[in-house]
């Protein structure tokens, strides 16, 4: 069975600084996708970044980047120049495509990030 582990229940960072959220996963599959979603107090789940397992290059989206270590099954999220609006719960998630198509997501337990002014 696939599992996703986030070992940091809560983190805090000062505005404009950099923070890294950790995520590890377990699977015997070779083809899969990894995601970071954020859930602000509005509870809307928002996709932050996505990584295909077959790509060695780490995904980047503006201030958000990942460090994908396939052999170590590690997928950390780095937020640079943290902003107050980044305050949210961050979930790491994992998907195995079904026949190449979108399939269910398996979520980690989440990390609550607080950006301090």
């Amino acid at each position: 069975a696939q599992t996703v582990t986030q070992s940091q229940p809560e983190m805090s960072v000062q505005e404009a600084e950099t923070v890294t959220l950790s995520c590890t996963y377990d699977t015997s599959e070779n083809n899969y996708y990894l995601f970071w979603y954020k859930q602000p107090p509005s509870r809307q789940m928002i996709l932050v970044i996505r990584q295909e397992a077959y790509k060695q290059q780490n995904a980047t989206e503006n201030r958000f980047s990942v460090n994908f270590q396939k052999a170590a099954k590690s997928f950390s999220l780095k937020i640079s120049d943290s902003q107050l609006g980044d305050t949210a719960m961050y979930f790491c998630a994992f998907m195995i495509p079904y026949g190449g198509a979108t399939n269910k997501l398996i979520f980690g337990t989440g990390t609550l990030l607080a950006v301090q002014p």
């Binding site: 995601f35 996505r50 979108t102 979520f107």
Partner: protein, 115 residues
Amino acid sequence: SAVISQKPSRDICQRGTSLTIQCQVDSQVTMMFWYRQQPGQSLTLIATANQGSEATYESGFVIDKFPISRPNLTFSTLTVSNMSPEDSSIYLCSVAAQSGANVLTFGAGSRLTVL
């Protein structure tokens, strides 16, 4: 990406009653997913709903408790039956994003409180 509307946004329910949550998508989608998020917890998949077939339930979830309908490619309902306080959760509908990049888009969720 697809736009998802969920109703109700929130509700307070009495023990023993049932409530149906609606999920409307602005485009046709093959697969729809229903998740539960208990207070302070992560998201857990309840079931996958395909149009024209029975929903597929995850371990720990049964059709009698969470019946799902999927009458067409843009709509689904999840019913929470015979509710107890333990059913107090946020229920989220999700679908594949139109980009087809194996990304799920989520509705805003329905927050149920069972007294």
